[in-house]
Symmetry: C2
């Protein structure tokens, strides 16, 4: 085993050495008394407060992020924050995550983990374990665990007729950012940032849960697909009257571009929702339509709202 105090110009490729190096990169300050994070067969943490919420997401270089345009740090960052978005969607707060990486030889694993470590610090979710294997793809599977104290997690399936539908921000920023990056926009362009460094709406998800909304999900594949999924899960229809388009994005990007990671919310009490968001200094969600009881009714300005969005072909 390499001595961590001896600087080396060439990085070792042995598994134990790599894991030791990466552990230093991702190790967290958020270790409670009695907890063990990286280094054992498994991490040991104190129990969740309230319900345990868990989700896993794969992020593959070239599929989920164009590695010709963006850095490997971006891939690591995005893998973490998009996984955490599923906790936001439940109104859960993050507890921990584990990361399973497969990578071909020569990939800068330090940079990948530096990106993950930064996201982990930013959203306050410690990386408590991981695994690394050699593969053809560069792929990161992130599993996030959160907790939902009090009223419990918010599901997709609770929308009821008469509920107002809202989204946390105008849509289409991520797809517009990718389009702009492809045509030469800088990496710090606000829309490009939305694509390469998406931010999970954790504070908004908690506020929505505290406002006892009926249903919630995150918009990962576009409103054109995800709104139908929420309606399917709730057994309802919808009458959409507005699709808020982010400045710089097109309507098509707002509907089917995907990867916005904004929250879609259904509630019968939008005033309470607005008040709670304002109190906490959060941007107030935007109403987009109403839930109706007939699951066959799915319209936008009186015409059928097509089921379109990002679907992987498998």
């Amino acid at each position: 085993m390499g001595d961590p105090n001896v600087p080396t110009s060439e990085h070792s490729h042995r598994e134990d050495d790599i894991i030791e190096r990466i552990t230093r990169i991702v190790s967290s300050a958020f270790i409670n008394r009695g907890e063990t994070h990286i280094g054992d067969d498994a991490a040991v943490l104190s129990p969740t407060v309230g319900q345990m919420v868990i989700s896993t997401d794969v992020c593959i270089a070239g599929v989920h992020l164009e590695t010709t345009l963006f850095s490997i740090e971006d891939l690591g960052f995005k893998a973490i924050t998009t996984a955490v978005s599923d906790l936001a969607a439940m109104g859960a707060r993050p507890r921990c995550c584990v990361v399973a990486v497969s990578a071909p030889s020569g990939v800068d694993l330090d940079a990948l983990h530096a990106g993950m470590a930064q996201a982990s610090t930013f959203v306050e979710i410690p990386i408590v374990g991981g695994d690394i294997a050699k593969g053809t793809d560069l792929s990161v599977a992130v599993t996030v665990v959160g907790e939902a104290p009090g009223g419990g997690a918010v599901l997709r399936s609770g929308a009821r007729a008469g509920d107002t539908l809202l989204v946390t921000r105008p849509l289409g920023r991520s797809a517009a950012g990718l389009r702009l990056a492809r045509t030469g926009a800088g990496l710090d362009n606000e829309l490009v940032l939305a694509h390469r460094r998406p931010w999970p709406r954790l504070a908004e998800g908690l506020a929505a849960r505290d406002a006892t909304v009926h249903a919630m999900m995150d918009l990962s594949d576009g409103l054109g697909l995800d709104l139908h999924r929420l309606a399917d899960a709730s057994g309802v229809g919808f009458v959409l009257d507005d699709v808020p388009v982010a400045p710089g994005a097109t309507l098509a990007e707002a509907i089917s571009g995907g990867e916005d990671y904004e929250l879609l919310i259904a509630t019968d009490d939008p005033d309470t929702l607005f008040a709670l968001f304002r109190q906490r200094g959060l941007e107030v969600p935007l109403p987009i339509g109403l839930v109706v009881s007939d699951a066959g009714v799915r319209t936008w300005r009186d015409t059928p709202f097509a089921r379109v969005g990002y679907q992987h072909e498998l």
Copy 2:
């Protein structure tokens, strides 16, 4: 979205359809009141009883299992049981797992998930969520969550001078099974089964925890590597006097073949350990040596015990 009641001769390749089909394959009977498993942004489960234990493992076709010899069901089965072995290693009992799959077009995802579903049923760990993406490799990242009520999880780091070291069974079965399969042995050969359908020592891990052993880990990379890892974590050395070799395996396979998933245990009270194992109808662990205080002493029959075992080159 396809109607699940309409049989189709050609499987759909659309993400939503595939996920619907796979959900039927892996859905579990182990759903407690108030829990939501597959189908929302995240699964919602009741809190862990005692410490939460979490680990993730990647399993890649061709790297972790030779797909020319073994089936895709085997890959799914092995991905689950080897991940669960990390819970056994902590003395934790399984609560849930999530599976992140990446696969090229044409892979029989139903068969992969059927193998995972069988393992999930056998070891009683519900698959509560997952993700699928298209990649070049066929890769499965399994994250397992367990719980350690009472005395808490058993770490690698607790071995003390004077402790007896034990393993739960003779070693080398998996490597011997792979060798035999390559030379034409049948898939039901006992050693071949140990390689393609490894079994996590959950009952043994719980019994060892109840016997308040000092340290424990699972032997995934071979005693020649893992015993050093346990000694490193505990800051101790060891004097090994026996390496129990499974019938049909070679000494080299027992030391460095890896993938046996037997448990390595350190305890100052082997008699209590034996009694508890006997009471529960479990095969009694085999003593292999002693822990010594000098971390530089790592011998086998008075000669240095080399650090050799399975290491991925990354």
